[in-house]
């Protein structure tokens, strides 16, 4: 894999000390029990998973996990290696929020009467980028796709108007500086490991680090 494809870790010195939000992307075989194997890597260290999504990836048969945690860079790196060590895991990346495009989907159920009386639906839709998924006599369901702050903001806005139900999905994230997994998979399928597979930060300390 060429260097254009490597994901650059832009972390400053302060981040190295403290915790911040990281999104872990795991490429893995689609196998029963693997989710548990990955989850216990966190729970063993008493680390809370903020959000977890499993989905297909760009490659048929290969699964993609997105895991969001709030931790320090050092801890993240160790976790990533422990996850990558699992037999059915192909590759692990971890990125700060600046390095990814990410979205979460939230659904809000509110009383149609309430909302019709007390707020302008139109204003809500416009201000929060919400869409009305269902409008019934008794209730209306809005959907918002966006960052946590955005979906949270609408919760706050709807609080006075009897928010009947609220749910938010896990984060899904695309790594900005990634060319996908197609090329990499070929190397994994080859019997002799290529250079990419033996890359590690021990030599390339600094700018090109994104995984072990």
């Amino acid at each position: 894999m060429s260097t254009e494809n490597t994901i650059q870790h832009t972390i400053d010195k302060a981040d190295l000390e403290g915790k911040q939000e990281y999104t872990i992307t795991v490429y893995a075989e689609n196998r029963i029990g693997l989710l548990n194997r990955i989850a216990i890597i966190f729970s063993k260290r008493k680390i809370n998973i903020e959000s977890l999504n499993t989905s297909p990836s760009e490659i048929d048969g290969i699964h993609r996990f997105n895991i969001v945690i709030h931790e320090s860079y050092e801890v993240l790196r160790k976790l990533a290696r422990q996850i990558e060590k699992q037999i059915e895991v192909l590759k692990v990346y971890f990125n700060t929020n600046e390095e990814i495009i990410w979205q979460e989907l939230a659904l809000y159920k509110v009383s149609t009467d309430e909302i019709a009386e007390k707020v302008t639906v139109e204003r809500l839709l416009r201000q929060y980028g919400a869409s009305a998924v269902v409008i019934r006599k008794d209730y209306t369901v809005f959907a918002v796709t966006g960052h946590r702050e955005e979906t949270d903001a609408l919760v706050k806005a709807l609080e006075p108007y009897e928010l009947i139900e609220f749910v938010r999905s896990a984060r899904v994230a695309i790594i900005k500086d990634s060319a996908g997994f197609h090329e990499k998979l070929k190397e994994f399928e080859a019997f002799e490991p290529g250079e990419e597979l033996v890359e590690n930060e021990f030599l390339d300390k600094g700018e090109k680090i994104f995984t072990m």
Partner: protein
Amino acid sequence: MDTAQDTIQQTETKSEPSKQVGGFKGTGSQVLLNGLIEEGVSTIFGYPGGAIMPIYDALYDYADKLEHILVRHEQGGIHAAQGFARTSGKVGVCFATSGPGATNLVTGLADAQIDSTPLVCITGQVYAHLLGTDAFQETDVINITTPVTKWNYQVTDANEIQEVLAKAFYIAKSGRPGPVLIDITKNAQLQIEEFPEYVKCNHIRSYRPKPKVRVEYIEQAAALINAAKKPFVLFGQGVVLGTAEEEFKTFIEKTGIPAAWTIMGESAIPTSHPLNVGMLGMHGNYGPNVLTNECDVLIAIGMRFDDRVTGRLDKYAKQAKVIHLDIDPAEIDKNVKADVGVWGDCKETLPLLTNLVDAKKHEEWLAKFRDYNQQEIDQVITPELYPESDEMTMGEVLRNINEICGGDAIIVTDVGQHQMVACRYAKFNNSRSNITSGGLGTMGFGLPAAIGAKYGAPDKTVIAIIGDGGFQMTPQELGTIMQFGVAVKILILNNRFLGMVRQWQQLFHDKRYSFVNITSPDFVALAKAYYIEADKVDERANLRKALETMINHEGSYLLEVMVGRENNVFPMVPQGMSVSEIRLK
């Protein structure tokens, strides 16, 4: 699969397996056993039960190819498989039934996982259609064992068995070895199929056991080593697991670097090697611990900086540049930051490194180790090996064993004071001779592991050194020794205390001896109840002769030696202290 079908298949099981061209028609159980033979397995430690009966039924016809050792408890079975793997270098295999049989494996799995021991454990499981119904002897074995296995898999269809078994052996022994568990439902064991020829596994796309070595790291490491004035090598079991004992010896001999071991790496080079400066860690030798904080380049090879080795981390080798050679990238930078991490199999990396390093002698530096060693000899070792009091010490028992066996015996230990004394004082000439529970510290490991160790190295004298506490955790394996005539020598060092805990209570809990005062049965009578020859020694005058009798005895033998009650193991790095704060008393 429905029950009616199972019944049909159960009756079909009785039919003789027929050999096909290239392939094989038979039951899942038969194809499993054929696979084990293909993988070179000849010894299995196990215990039957309901959910694994079809496999045992098939085993009945394989007695000429597969030797099955009936243990007395599944924990004994897995520890025996561990002992076998450790002395033979092969994959240890054990069988257990579902439910309690499988849960009894957990301690051994955890032990094998932390000590990187290659195992393949086969457990029976209830019929696939009963999974999740809380059936008789059903437990969720896969989820229970997930944190303590390198890999595990539940087979519900016989057609999966060959591929899964091949993967299991490949995963268990390649890269950083570890335990693998295969859970096979009863219907899959009974299922009759035409199976293809067995194909061994040598590639899994998501698993890269070892990397192609990057020469840049080797060059950086060599540069550090060549510039070093006070280099120091720490080695662990990685040297043994990588069968790199010769490569390792060549490396230290060329560079003239003193080398100290973790207890898992102990016998990788002979005790008498002039560059072998001794044991690391909490009860390790004085020089290696103190000089860890004085060396300028620390070269760690196949070891993982366990907290019992490093003591307080923020005061550990801070002055040194650290080079870390390991096959598991997750170990590099885990506990101690490496200035140069060399990810790879030390069988490959060590020769590359040896080529690039200058031939040197570090006489002055080595003399420092000798100075510290002399202090330790005067203050600790001599009083331990040649005690002046009437009470016998564990150390003098070890000295006598060394004198009788000359370093050729395999020493299996349990866990506690006797373990530290055995590791400190036993002499070894050959690799794979020190079998101990390192990372997990499993009391009860010693006796069953010694059984396996003997099967793994049948021509060697195998001595199991066990405390009075640890022996009482797995004494049932005397039954296995009796039934199979396993010629192990069992040496119980009895101080009538749970000695290591008592030592800590003495030193750190104001001598509040809380529940360490353990009583024992008449061990000699117990052994004799199992028709095992036995003797007891309570004074020095009889010690040598009793040990000689034990070692020269044809079959199994148990010797109980009464040692001083309140002897302590020193030196000691108290928990939470730096290695250089090691105490001699």
